[in-house]
Symmetry: C2
């Protein structure tokens, strides 16, 4: 093999290696986005208490030992709950993505990974994903005073309102 | 520049590129291990209710709105709580790594990312990291019947006991 051939071969190997590395990086990124961060995605919710595609993984059922139920909820971009309230309140932990949370009469808040929200008892509120990013939350809901009370759907106008500072 | 020089230059660039990519991958892996999965690591716990190095990030304080406190706890490998009990029970969510959990009189359980444990009220138990992997948990603790009751340290023999199936 002469020097010219070695040069050409080296350049081919270089370009090939570069492409392979780039493909590998792209695959890792895609897989990281689609893999659940911590909890399984669970089953898609089929009742009409939500708008858009939403999944629920039940982690802990309320019972006589502990009256909190805990679940991981995954909202696709644009998906959200109806307005609703909890007789014993709720705690939300933002696990992944970007979400919205709003209490009746208050501006919409943006929730990001690591945020925690305490929703008071009997206060109508809704939560869901932002318009372009999914949202994964853990919901800790006290069941000692009864089940969730479901109210009206969140309109597109309400959903798209500017968040508060 | 003659063909020979091009060949040498190409080989140098190829080797340099390869090394750079490998270094980049190594840096990403190291950063992924050290970065918190979801919540901040918080402050190192300095009281004597724990053995080894343990960090706490308070996420939600119990108050009149909601009597659960929620915190993210990070245990270094080998670190664990003392035996203790909660008058209103506790829920643990395994967020990252590999941990141990044991109730008095029961075999030690292994907890992995995504697991959830319900610890009944007044049952002495302990939790912590495994011997060689850190453990991150979210603890949801009912405060309506009083604060945690701290008991004896977990001995090395207890800590190293074989886990149950």
């Amino acid at each position: 093999m002469n020097i010219k051939n070695i040069a050409i071969l080296s350049l081919i190997v270089l370009v090939s290696f570069s492409c392979k590395q780039q493909n590998k990086s792209a695959k890792i990124s895609q897989s990281e986005i689609q893999e659940p961060t911590v909890f399984a995605k669970g089953k898609q919710i089929t009742n009409d208490n939500f708008t858009g595609n939403v999944w629920l993984e039940n982690l802990v059922q309320a019972d006589s030992l502990n009256q909190n139920s805990v679940g991981s909820v995954t909202f696709e971009p644009g998906a959200r709950s109806k307005w609703h309230s909890h007789p014993a309140g709720q705690i939300l932990l933002a696990i992944d993505g970007v979400g919205y949370y709003q209490e009746k009469g208050q501006p919409k808040k943006i929730l990001r990974k690591g945020d925690a929200i305490k929703c008071p008892a009997d206060i109508p509120h809704w939560h869901g994903a932002s318009t372009d990013t999914k949202f994964v939350q853990v919901a800790i809901t006290g069941r000692e005073k009864g089940e969730t009370i479901w109210l009206d759907a969140v309109t597109d106008k309400e959903y798209h309102n500017e968040p508060g500072i």
